[in-house]
C-alpha cells in the first residue's frame, strides 16, 4: 500500500505560529489559556479561552482583497493552508512542472470546520434594532442594512474555496462539518485519495473560531467549561476551554516526497471513525465509539496495539468524556497501555483543528523521544483507573503515536502516525 508522508505544516493558534514555537511553549509548561481579550467577558463565570492575539484575523491574510470576503475562522484556515503549501514547496514545484494545470487538478483540498457560527448572524442586529422584530420592515430595509455579500462571507466552505482560489489547486475536495472529529476525517480523506492514486498531493486543513459570546454561553450552560484550568484525567477536572486557530498538513506519497528530496515530518499510517448514536452532546460511559474508532485505525494502518508508543488523548477535561476515554483505552490496551498524554491544558480545544494540531505535536514528541507531561495534573481521577498519565515528561521508546478525537453527535476518530520515514 502507498505510504503517505507529511511534507509540510501550517499552524496558527494561541501558542504560536509554527509547530516548533508551539512545541517549545508546551514543553516549557506554558499555556495559551487566558482571560478573553477580544470581547468584554466581565461578569462571565467562565471567561478563559485560548485566543489568537490578532483582534482582526483577516489582517493575517497577505491578499488584501480577500480580507473583506472572509470571516475570522476562514482566515485561520487559509493562513494555515498556505503555510503548509509553502513548507511543502508545492508552488515552486507547480511552477516548475511540465503541465501546471495537471498539477493543480491532481492536488486535493480537504477542510474541516465546526460550521455554523453565531457571530455571522450578528450582521442583522442593527436591522433588527430598527425593524423591532417586524418582518415587513426587516424585508424592506434589508438591502440598506446588511452587506450584499453577507452569505458568501459566511459560507462554511469559504476557507476551502479561497484556498483553491489563492493556490490555483482544483482537485477533489471536501468540507467536513463534523464538529471536532472532522479534522481526523479530513486527513483520512486525503490519505484515501492518495492511496487510491486519485491525486498526487493533498492539503488537509482544519480551522475554528468558536470564542464568541453565544457559543461560550452554550458550552457553559452544558457544564463543559473549566473555571481556572483544563485538567485532563484529574480528579478535580471541571471542563474544557475553547481555543481558536487553523492547522494544515501537506500530504503526499512517501516515494514521491523522497524522489523530490522533500523533508518529511512523519508518516500517516491510518485512521478510523465511529459513532455512538446517543444524541447531540452525550457520550457512552464505556467509550464504545472510541474503542471501535481505534480498532478501525489500527486495522487501517496494519498495526497492533503494542506498536503504539504514545497516545495523545482527546483529554478535554470534562467529567464524562475523560472517564469514558480512559475506559476505552483500558479496553483496547489493557495493562500494556503506552504513555498517555493530552495537550488541551495548554492549547485549549480547537474543535476540528485540535487533533491535527495535536498530531503535529505528537510527531515532535516522537522525534524528541519524550512525552510531555500534563502540567495541570495533580491527582489522577480514580475513575480513570491506572491510565498512564503523568505531570512530568517521560521518555518514549518507539516511533508510532495514536491521536484521539471526539466530537458532538458522538463522533469519534483515531489517527496513527509514525516518525520513521525510512
Amino acid at each position: 500500500m502507498t505510504r503517505i508522508a507529511i511534507t509540510g505544516a501550517g499552524v496558527v493558534c494561541g501558542l504560536g505560529r509554527t509547530v516548533e514555537e508551539v512545541w517549545q511553549a508546551l514543553c516549557g509548561g506554558r499555556s495559551a489559556l487566558a482571560p478573553i481579550r477580544h470581547w468584554d467577558a466581565t461578569g462571565w463565570p467562565r471567561a478563559l479561552a485560548a485566543e489568537v492575539a490578532e483582534a482582526d484575523a483577516t489582517a493575517l491574510l497577505a491578499d488584501r482583497r480577500a480580507r473583506k470576503l472572509m470571516r475570522r475562522s476562514h482566515a485561520f484556515g487559509v493562513v494555515a493552508g498556505l503555510a503548509a503549501v509553502e513548507a511543502a514547496g508545492w508552488r515552486a514545484a507547480r511552477d516548475a512542472a511540465a503541465d501546471a494545470e495537471v498539477f493543480n487538478d491532481r492536488t486535493a483540498l480537504y477542510v474541516a470546520t465546526g460550521g455554523g457560527n453565531y457571530r455571522d448572524a450578528y450582521d442583522f442586529l442593527p436591522l433588527l434594532a430598527r425593524s423591532g422584530g417586524a418582518l415587513p420592515a426587516f424585508g424592506s430595509e434589508l438591502l440598506h442594512a446588511v452587506p450584499p455579500m453577507w452569505l458568501l462571507q459566511t459560507l462554511p466552505n469559504n476557507a476551502l474555496c479561497h484556498l483553491g482560489i489563492q493556490t490555483g489547486f482544483s482537485g477533489p475536495h471536501a468540507c467536513l462539518v463534523t464538529h471536532s472529529s472532522g479534522g481526523v476525517l479530513a486527513i483520512g480523506e486525503a490519505v484515501a485519495a492518495l492511496r487510491a492514486g486519485e491525486v498526487d498531493r493533498a492539503v488537509a486543513v482544519a480551522h475554528e473560531a468558536p470564542i464568541e459570546p453565544q457559543q461560550l454561553q452554550g458550552y457553559a450552560t452544558l457544564g463543559l467549561l473549566a473555571e481556572h484550568a483544563v485538567r485532563p484525567f484529574d480528579a478535580r477536572r471541571d471542563g474544557c476551554v475553547l481555543g481558536e486557530g487553523g492547522v494544515a498538513l501537506a500530504l503526499e506519497p512517501l516515494e514521491a516526497a523522497r524522489g523530490r528530496g522533500a523533508s518529511m515530518l512523519g508518516e500517516v499510517l491510518g485512521s478510523g471513525a465511529a459513532g455512538e448514536a446517543c444524541g447531540v452532546f452525550d457520550v457512552r460511559p464505556d467509550g464504545d465509539g472510541l474503542v471501535r474508532a481505534i480498532g478501525a485505525a489500527l486495522s487501517d494502518a496494519g498495526c497492533a496495539p503494542r506498536d503504539v508508543a504514545l497516545i495523545v488523548a482527546h483529554g478535554n477535561g470534562t467529567r464524562a468524556s475523560d472517564a469514558s476515554e480512559a475506559a476505552a483505552l483500558r479496553q483496547v490496551f489493557g495493562a500494556a497501555c503506552p504513555p498517555v498524554t493530552a495537550f488541551k491544558w495548554a492549547l485549549g480545544h480547537l474543535l476540528a483543528a485540535a487533533a491535527p494540531l495535536e498530531t503535529l505535536l505528537a510527531l515532535q514528541a516522537l522525534h524528541g523521544g519524550v512525552a510531555p507531561g500534563i502540567a495541570t495534573l495533580e491527582r489522577r481521577d480514580p475513575a480513570c483507573g491506572d491510565l498512564p498519565v503523568s505531570r512530568d515528561p517521560r521518555p518514549l521508546r518507539g516511533d508510532t503515536a495514536l491521536i484521539l478525537s471526539r466530537g458532538f453527535a458522538g463522533t469519534d476518530a483515531a489517527l496513527l502516525v509514525r516518525t520513521g520515514t525510512a
Binding site: 467577558a41 462571565w44 463565570p45 487538478d105 460550521g115 455554523g116 453565531y118 448572524a121 442583522f124 442586529l125 442593527p126 436591522l127 433588527l128 434594532a129 418582518l135 415587513p136 426587516f138 424585508g139 424592506s140 434589508l142 438591502l143 446588511v146 453577507w150 452569505l151 458568501l152 459560507l155 462554511p156 466552505n157 469559504n158 474555496c161 479561497h162 483553491g164 482560489i165 490555483g168 489547486f169 482544483s170 477533489p172 475536495h173 468540507c175 467536513l176 462539518v177 463534523t178 472532522g182 459570546p213 453565544q214 454561553q217 452554550g218 452544558l222 478510523g272 465511529a274 459513532g275 455512538e276 448514536a277 444524541g279 465509539g289 478501525a296 458532538f408 453527535a409 458522538g410 463522533t411
Partner: protein, 424 residues
C-alpha cells in the same frame, strides 16, 4: 472488479410532496412546487415566492424523545431517512449498527429569525451585541438545535447508525458530495450500508435575506410557477426551495443476498474546485468540466455513454451558461445523444439538499426509463444550446445518468448513476 454499489432505498421530502411517489408523479406531470411564501410574512422582501415543502410541522417524523432538538431541516432529513430505510427493507440492528455509516449534506446552520430577534431583544437593543447581557445560562435545547452537526446526531440516534458519521457542507453541492462520500465509504470497506443524502431549510427570513442580498433570486412574484426557468433566455434567477433527499447505499452482493432490488447503481463520483472567484462560476465551465470528467472516469464510462443529465441548471444567467459551456467542452459531438433537463424549474433550488434530491430523480429516471421535463423552457437561450427535454417527460431507455451540483465559491460535484444490471 470491485462489487458495484447499489441504491436500494429512496426517501424524498420536496416542494412537490412528502414521499418519493407523490414527488415523482408530480414532477413527471409537470406540476410546480413554487408558490407565494406562506410560512412567514415575506411581504417586505423583494422576493416573495419560494418552493415550500407542504408540511406545517416538519418534525412529526422525529422520535418523540428527540423532537425538541429538531429544527425544520432535521425534520425533513428524518422523514426522508425513514422512508429510505423502509423502502430498502433494512435497518440497523444491535449487531449491524457499527457497519452502518451516514454521510449528510446539511445546510448552513445559524440562528433562526426568532432566535435572532430574541438575542437582539436580550443583548443588542441598540443593534450592537453587549456580551455582558449573555453571561447567564441559555436554553441548552436551543443550543443543541443550533449545532451544525445536530441533523447528523439526530439521524444517527433515531435510526441507530453507529459506524463512521460525517456531515459535509459545500453549499449547493453538499447533497451530491455527501452521496459521493457515502460511495467511497462503501468502496473502502468501512461500512456495509450507508444512509446518504442532503437536507436544507433555508426558506426562512434569514435564508431568504441572504439570497436577496446577493440578488440571486428571481423576483417574478406574480408568476411563481414560471419564475424558475433554467436555460430559458428570459431566466432571471433561481427560486429558493427546501427539502431533503436520502438514499440507502449498499454493495450489490449484500443487496442480492437479501433479495433487495436496486433503483440503480451509484457508479461514480467526482468533484473539483473552480478556483476562480468566490462569486461567479468560470465562464468556460472550469471546475464542472473536471467534476463530470472525474465522475465518468470513476464509473468507467465515456461521455459518449451518457444518456441523461440532470443539470445543476439553477436558472441564473451565469450558472446555466457556464454549465452549458462545460457540457459542450466535455461531450463534444456526443452532446447530440444526450437528454438534458433541470428539475429546478419545478422544485426550485434546495441548496444543500439539491444534489441528493436530483440524484434520486436520476435513479428514478433510470428505473422508469423516462427523463423528467423542463417544465418552463419555452425560449431556449441560444447561448445554452443543448438537447433539452421538452415540457413533457421523454420516455427512452436510459443506461447512464449524470447529476450535477455546483456550489457557491466553486465547489463542484457530479455523480454517475447506471441502470442496475447494465455492464460498465
Amino acid at each position: 472488479m470491485a462489487e458495484p454499489i447499489w441504491i436500494t432505498g429512496l426517501g424524498l421530502v420536496t416542494p412537490l410532496g412528502v414521499g418519493v411517489a407523490p414527488t415523482w408523479q408530480a414532477l413527471l406531470a409537470g406540476a410546480s412546487g413554487i408558490r407565494p411564501i406562506g410560512r412567514f410574512d415575506a411581504s417586505g422582501f423583494a422576493v416573495r415566492i419560494g418552493a415550500e415543502v407542504p408540511l406545517g410541522d416538519a418534525t412529526d417524523a422525529v422520535a418523540p424523545r428527540l423532537r425538541k432538538f429538531a429544527g425544520r431541516q432535521h425534520g425533513f432529513a428524518t422523514h426522508a431517512a425513514a422512508e429510505a430505510l423502509r423502502d430498502a427493507g433494512v435497518a440497523p440492528t444491535d449487531t449491524t449498527a457499527p457497519r452502518w455509516g451516514c454521510a449528510l449534506g446539511c445546510g448552513q446552520v445559524t440562528l433562526d429569525y426568532d432566535e435572532l430577534v430574541a438575542t437582539a431583544a436580550a443583548a443588542a437593543p441598540q443593534g450592537e451585541l453587549q456580551p455582558a447581557r449573555l453571561a447567564a445560562p441559555c436554553d441548552p435545547i436551543a443550543f443543541a438545535r443550533q449545532q451544525s452537526i445536530a441533523p447528523l446526531a439526530l439521524l444517527a440516534t433515531q435510526f441507530g447508525l453507529r459506524g463512521p458519521l460525517r456531515a459535509v457542507h459545500t453549499a449547493c453541492a453538499s447533497g451530491g458530495q455527501a452521496i459521493g462520500s457515502g460511495l467511497k465509504m462503501l468502496r473502502r470497506g468501512e461500512v456495509d450500508f450507508v444512509l446518504a443524502g442532503g437536507t436544507d431549510a433555508m426558506l426562512t427570513p434569514i435564508g431568504l435575506a441572504g439570497f436577496c442580498l446577493l440578488g440571486a433570486l428571481s423576483a417574478d412574484n406574480d408568476d411563481p410557477a414560471r419564475a424558475s426557468r433554467p436555460f430559458d433566455r428570459t431566466r432571471n434567477g433561481f427560486v429558493l426551495g427546501e427539502g431533503a433527499g436520502m438514499m440507502v447505499l449498499e454493495r450489490a452482493d449484500t443487496a442480492r443476498a437479501r433479495g433487495a432490488p436496486p433503483y440503480a447503481e451509484l457508479a461514480g463520483e467526482g468533484n473539483a474546485l473552480s478556483s476562480y472567484r468566490i462569486t461567479d462560476p468560470h465562464p468556460d465551465g472550469r471546475g464542472p468540466i473536471q467534476a463530470m470528467r472525474r465522475a465518468l472516469a470513476d464509473a468507467g464510462e465515456s461521455p459518449a455513454a451518457v444518456d441523461y443529465i440532470n443539470a445543476h441548471g439553477t436558472s441564473t444567467p451565469m450558472n446555466d451558461r457556464s454549465e452549458c459551456a462545460a457540457i459542450h467542452a466535455l461531450f463534444g459531438a456526443a452532446v447530440d445523444r444526450l437528454l438534458v433537463s433541470s428539475t429546478k424549474g419545478q422544485i426550485g433550488h434546495l441548496i444543500a439538499a439539491a444534489g441528493a434530491v436530483e440524484a434520486a430523480f436520476c435513479a428514478l429516471a433510470l428505473r422508469d426509463a423516462v427523463a423528467p421535463p423542463n417544465a418552463n423552457l419555452h425560449h431556449p437561450d441560444p447561448a445554452c444550446a443543448l438537447p433539452f427535454v421538452g415540457a413533457a417527460p421523454q420516455r427512452r431507455a436510459l443506461r447512464v445518468a449524470l447529476s450535477n451540483s455546483f456550489g457557491f465559491g466553486g465547489a463542484n460535484s457530479s455523480l454517475v448513476l447506471r441502470a442496475a444490471g447494465a455492464v460498465a
